[in-house]
Structures are given as C-alpha cells and as structure tokens.
C-alpha cells in the first residue's frame, strides 16, 4: 500500500488526480464492479495513467485451467472424436448403435454445459476484468452459437482465439476468423463450394465484422463468397483449402481485381480502414461510453484506431480519454448485461464460485446464455436488457447471490486456478489480486462506503443499518446500472 502511495505521488500531480467517483466509474465501465482497494490504487493517478494501469493488466491466458476435454491438442481431439463417431456409424443398425450415438450426443451436451460453467467461473475469478470484458465484446462481434456449431471444443477454440487477440491487433483477429473452425461451421462455410457458392459468411464479414452496412454492394458479397469457396475442415479440424472446390478465378471486390482467396478478401476489407474502424469503434462506444454515440467523438476514436494499425488498446485509450466518457452526466447511464450484473455481484460481495451452474442458469433466464447468443448479430444489449420479466428475474437472481445460493452449490473449485505469483508491478497487483473488503467495511460500520462501491449514483440510499447495506444496494434499481 505504501509503495502505491509513493508511486501515486511520483506519477501524478494532485491537480490531475482522479477523485473516488471517477476511479469507481473507470473500474465499473472496464471491469465487473469496483472495490475499495482498486479504487484506492487509481485515485492518485491522472486519467491517462489510470487507463494505462488498467490496460497493463491485459492477459492472453485465462486464470483457470482448461476443462479436461480441452487439454489435448486440438488435432488430437478432432481425431479422437471422429474415430468415436466412425466406430458408432460402423455398427449395425439397431439398439446398441442407437445407444452409442445417444451416448456421444450426451457427451457433447455435457461438455457444452462444462464450457459454459468454465467461462462463468473464469469471469468470477479473473485477474484481468478488462480482458474478460473484451473477450465478451468480441464474442458479441464475431458471434457463433454453440447450438448451431454443435461441437463444444470448437467454441472453446474460438474463445481462446478471441482471448489471444482481445487486447491485441484487430487485424490479426479478423484475418484469423475465416480459419476459425466454429465460425466456419456457424456460417455454413463448409457448404460454400465453387459449384454452389453460399454467401452467408461473405455477407456477415462485410455487414457485421468489418466495413459495416452500406459500405459494400450485393455484387461485392457474391464475388467475395467465391473467394471463400472450397475451405474444408480437414483432418486437423481447421479449414484448409481444397483446390477442387475452390473458385480460383478472378474476382472484383470493392474495386480490387485479382485472384483472391479468403485471406485476400479480409486484407481488402481491412484496407477500408475508415469504415472498419468506424464500425468497430461505434460498437466500442456503446459498450464503454453511452448508448448514443457522439458522431464526431467516435470519428476521433476510430482515427486513433486505424492510425495505430488496428491496435485495440489504441482505440480504448482514445475512447477512455474522451470527454464524454468522464462526463458526470454519463455516469450510471449504461445498463449492466446479465453477465456484468451477476459476475459483478459475486465479485463485489467477495464470493468465491465453485460450481457456477447457478450462474449459467441465471444467464439463460436473464437472456445472456454465454456461447449461445440469439443470432449472428449477438445480444442487442443496452436498454433491451430490461423488460418486465427480466427485471423480476434479475431481482430473483440477485436474491440468490445474497442468500449464498450461488456459491452454496459447491465448496471446491470446479476448475482449478492456475498457479500464479504476485505480479512484479505493485499497481498491477493492486488491480488484479482479489482483496476481500466487505467484512472490514461492515465491521467499521462504513455503510456509506459499501453503498458507494455498489451503486453508481449517489443520493439513492436512505438506509442506516450497515448490516443491511449490501442487501439494500442490490435491491436498488440503480444496481442495474454502471
């Protein structure tokens, strides 16, 4: 703590230092609910330094070890799964074969649950909330649905891909997407062959993933679809080019003429940097700043993004430096997603989740079933999260957290945390090490502190009993806001 204070004095002049409300706001918008230790760490810093400190927590490695069926290298898994199915299909028609097929289907189903549990627990346990927020953001950008993809391991691989690039280069991420097995299945790329081009992937790549609506023609989609033909999931389980099914002819896409393949098309799209950056940064604005993007300000953020050659931290720095982000009128003006609501409550209440099945279930009931967004556009988000039924369901789900039902399901971790030392940088340590605070605040009778940490707006609280502070705050309508 002392080192932190010294660091703070050295780094920031008091005039530029954040106040508690600002530090809280930054943490609420980039993570899952602020705690006093993290707030105290940021308070001596300037805005810019605080944003950098949070960006410095970025990681590409999850906090928890993988589910055991994800431990084998991907090609090994793919071969084993294929062998299981081949063996089942080789059996004679009849009861034993049907039973075996049911077993294999059940195994996938169980693994699907396992996968969802894993991510919910990772969200609760993560050392880098910003990383998880960005993985969620990309999951909602480069969407795939487990219910369509079928094989849970493919969704796991996609999650690792999003994780590797979550705070890296958008260009690398976009270039990897056509070769992601889950996306390949999700958008029908396997049936996209030279003889019958399927435009599904080409359309979503343009409309949602890169340049955005209005910045391409139907002809561009048709031409790009040809370039995406003939990629087949090979023995290794990843899309590989099959020359016989690929349309190797000339294509004209967005005015570029050439013999393009999948990579070539993504490169052409990425060259439309203004469109791509504006599309991505408008979504980032809605995620981090407000539901009503300010055209000029988003434009500035997108310029910073493409000038930095699609480095994602550059976009976030610009976004989090904007006046709109810090405007007190925008504080508490975004609606928490079900994940933010539940994970935030669990983390802020110092709870440790063992078997997160209750959270998977709550996510489904509140409308955010991780790995299963409703469609290719993802969750609509924002105010659409709140309806008569979801508000009641949110209340019930938070009561379950309060009564300890969410953590009661188990006493041990379903997925073990990786061994992790204390980070060398004290600031990173302060922002990433979970530090229980509620017991101390309650013992000190500091109701005001508890309410300030849990709620984004002041002036709502009218209670006095410190023991009821947490329950009162979780039942407050503004607990839905960030």
């Amino acid at each position: 703590m002392r080192a932190l204070i010294v660091l703070g004095i050295v780094l920031a002049s008091p005039l530029l230092a954040l106040d508690e409300g600002e530090a809280r706001h930054l943490l609420a918008r980039t993570g899952f609910g602020p705690t006093p230790v993290a707030v105290a760490a940021l308070v001596p810093l300037s805005r810019e330094q605080a944003v950098d400190a949070i960006l410095a927590t970025a990681t590409t490695v999850p906090t928890l070890v993988a589910p055991d069926w994800c431990a084998d290298p991907f090609p090994t898994y793919v071969k084993a799964r294929k062998a299981d199915w081949d063996a089942a299909y080789a059996m004679a028609q009849g009861e034993p074969r049907k039973k075996r097929e049911d077993e294999l289907r059940k195994r996938d189903e169980d693994r699907g649950w396992d996968l969802k549990r894993w991510w919910w627990q990772e969200l609760c346990a993560t050392r880098s909330p910003l990383t998880e927020r960005m993985v969620l953001f990309w999951h909602n950008h480069f969407t795939s649905q487990l219910s369509v993809v079928g094989d849970p391991r493919l969704m796991w691989e996609q999650n690792q891909l999003l994780r590797r690039h979550a705070l890296g280069s958008f260009a690398y991420l976009a270039l990897a997407i056509p070769f992601d097995p889950a996306m390949h299945r999700y958008l029908d790329s396997d049936s996209n062959v030279a003889a019958h081009p399927n435009e599904n992937f080409a359309r979503e790549v343009m409309e949602l993933f890169t340049v955005g609506e209005g910045n391409y023609s139907e002809k561009d989609i048709k031409e790009a679809a040809r370039a995406f033909t003939g990629y087949k999931l090979g023995e290794s389980g990843v899309p590989e080019l099959d020359g016989n099914q690929h349309d190797g002819g000339r294509k004209v896409v967005l005015g570029n003429r050439g013999v393009f393949d999948a990579k070539g098309i993504i490169e052409i799209l990425l060259l439309r940097e203004k469109n791509v950056a504006l599309n991505v940064c408008t979504r980032l604005w809605r995620e981090f700043v407000s539901e009503t993007p300010d055209e000029k300000a988003v434009f500035a953020v997108s310029a910073a993004f493409y000038r930095a050659r699609y480095q994602i931290p550059a976009a976030l720095r610009a976004l989090l430096a904007s006046d709109a982000f810090w405007d007190p009128a925008n504080r508490g003006e975004l609606i928490k997603s079900p994940v933010e609501l539940m994970v935030g409550a669990v983390r802020q209440l110092d709870q440790v989740v063992g078997d997160p099945i209750a959270l998977v279930d709550a996510g489904k009931r509140l409308g955010q079933d991780l790995f299963d967004p409703p469609n290719v556009k993802g969750w609509k988000g924002g105010r659409a999260w709140i309806s008569t039924h979801s508000l009641l369901a949110r209340r019930d789900a938070l009561e379950a957290v309060l009564s300890g039902k969410v953590t009661a399901a188990s006493k041990h971790h379903l997925f073990t945390p990786r061994p992790m030392g204390t980070p060398a940088q004290p600031m990173v340590a302060a922002l990433t090490t979970p530090t229980p605070w509620l017991t101390a605040a309650t013992a000190a009778g500091d109701r005001a502190l508890i309410v300030r940490m849990l709620l984004p707006r002041s002036g709502v609280d009218s209670g006095t009993d410190v023991r009821k502070a947490v329950a009162d705050a979780l039942r407050d309508p503004s607990f839905n806001l960030k």
Partner: protein, 411 residues
Amino acid sequence: MDLRRRDLLTLALGSLAVAALPRWASSAESPTGPSLPVPTIDFRRSLVLIELRGGNDGLNTVIPFADAAYARARPTIAIPPERVLRLDRELGLHPAFAPLLPAWKERELGVVLGVGYPQPNRSHFRGIDIWNSGSAAGEQAIDGWLARLLHGVTTRAYADLLADAVIFGYGATVAHGGFGPLSGQALRTLVMDSPAEYIARAKGAAAPADAATAGSALDHVLGVQRDIASTVERLSAVEQEPARFTTEFPKTNLGRQLGMTAKLIAAEAGVPVWKLTIDGFDTHADQSKRHAELLGELVGALAAFRAALIEAKMWDRVAVMTYSEFGRRVDENASKGTDHGTAAPHLMLGGKVTGGWHGKQPDLKRLDDGDLVHTTDFRAIYRSIAQDWWGYRGEFLSDKAIKPLPGLFRT
C-alpha cells in the same frame, strides 16, 4: 372494394375512418397534427400465435392423398388414404384433426397452403429468425415483425391495455433468442409460465417512489418496474374472476396455455398479441407416432379454445395463426422420419377467418432439389393480419411489394 381504393378512401375520409375505431384508438391525437393519420390497430381484436417448434411436417398435416407421388416418397410414414380426413378430391387432413372438423364445416378453419419464401433456409435458428422478423432470406432484420408493427401503436392505447403482448413459456422463449416476433422494440411484453406464477414472482414489486431524470437509464428501469406493479394488479384481478366459460381444456402443455389465454381474452384483459409454443416437431426419426401426438395436442387444445371463446362470445375477436421455421423434405429418410425442408401449410382459425383452402398446394412433380416450392409468401399472411384483421395502415415489412392474401378474413 379493392385495396387501393380503400386506401384512398381512408386518406380522404381520414377522420371518419378513425371514428369507426374503438374509443381508445380514436381518443389519442397524433403529436404531429391531424394531417397524416398515425397507424393504429383495432385493439379489441387479438392475435394468437402458436409456434410449432422444430419444423412441422406439412405433407403429413395437409395430405395430398390423391397424388401417387406422395405415397411413393414416403413408403413407411405416408398416412394411408383411408385414414385421411378428406376435405376434397385431392387434399385432406391428418386423422388427428377430427376435433377441428366442426370448425372446418362452419368455415372458420382456414388452411394456407405452401407457405414459405424464396431461397429457403434449413437452419432451425436462422429459419425461425426469418419468420420472426418477417424478412427475406438474405436479410438480417433482427427486430420482430410484431414489434415493428406495434411499436408506437400501443403506447397510444397504453392505459386500456394490460400489456402489448403475453408470451407463455419462460425457458422456451429466452433460451431460443428472446421474444421472437416481439423482440427488439421496447414493448410491454409479459413473459410467464402462468398468470399465477407471474403474480407470485411480481409480488412486492411496488411502484417505485423514486423519480429520475426523464430519459435516463434509471428512468427506464423505474418505468419497467412501474409496468410490473401496474400489470400485476390488473392481472391478479382478472385471474381471480371465475372463467367466463365452462369448456374444459386438455391437460396438455398447450392445452393449459390456451386455457389461460382463453380465460384472459374472455375477461377482456386487453392484450393484442399472445404467443404460445408447442415444441418437438423436429421429427428426424420414427416420426409417425410422435407427429400424431403433437398434432393431437395442437388440435385438442385449439378445439377447446374455439368452444370456450364461442361460449364467452369472444370468438369473432380472435384470430389464431400457426407457424414453424420450415416444413420437411418430401422424401422420408432412412430413419422413418423427415429432414429439414421448405414450404408447409399453416392454420388460421377464428370467428372472422375465412374457412377453407387459401393459396395453392405445391406440386409434388415440380420440386427444387427434392423440396417443395412455396406458393404463398409467409409475409402475405402477416400483411393480411395487419391490414385486414387489425386495420393497420402503416408499413412494417422491409419488402413493400408483399401483398396481403386476398380474403383471409371475413369483413
């Protein structure tokens, strides 16, 4: 009177046309002045949507028994001609439809044939998205067609409506991507397993005393909380009244849902849209028994629904429509089932529905890669419901060229 002339008349006689509408529709003034009539709907009339989840096998629902190609395509699962409920020389219904034959004879059961759309999609998820949004196959319109239609319409009748819509079946709704045809625009949609369950959950959800800056996120949350408080009061009042009919409903899942719907409609709860679901139509294997059970559940519940609302003298104010993400392939598969296909028939039922066949049965000799070619665009039914059932004059489909299905409703 043809449609264009009617439209012209509506424009010319704007205020007169509005005067014919119920008081809650006519009492609201357009905020932009009287020159352009703001679209409204006749809120006395309800639409009951029943989703046949999984893709209903149309060819074993409405059966072209006289066509030899039908029996040839389905050596083990074809309904034998002697068991088909024959309605004319070519077409008949699955035997499970017996309880609805009186409705057919009274000409209150309409069957729209060959419903589909160009470039059909065979994914459950994408397929139902297309139906829910009322969009073309290549279009990504995510808002539901009813949400677009009702948005801005219902707010004008706010006080008189219990809710814009009720969706029965909680898990089925959320797990499959939200509110379906009602997703998108912020409507007052009540999702519940049953009114009793909703009332129990909403107990203690008092209208908040807090006030927030108008238009703020907190204001939005508080507004929804107020909606809960106000609807739960009205709903529990209606729920406690005895039913206004004596008809018993089958003790099936859909029977219970339609029973509750009937009770609330009979009590004039004030809900323009009801959405119900019956799941299990994805009959890839051993289809015959399962499909007969599913159709039996559907038909039994619908027959009771009709009887109850005739008894309650509300039958002229209800239109039921079934829909499903796709039909199934013409040829049966190796597992005595059927795989994902394209066009299928759908039911329309109600006191003001024109009974009989609508549209044309797809030709079994003119298949597209083994699939039926649709003869009626599903959006034509949506257009008919909007214009001819509700008297809606606005635009809610991205494809303005879609025309209503002529004469689907009696005037």
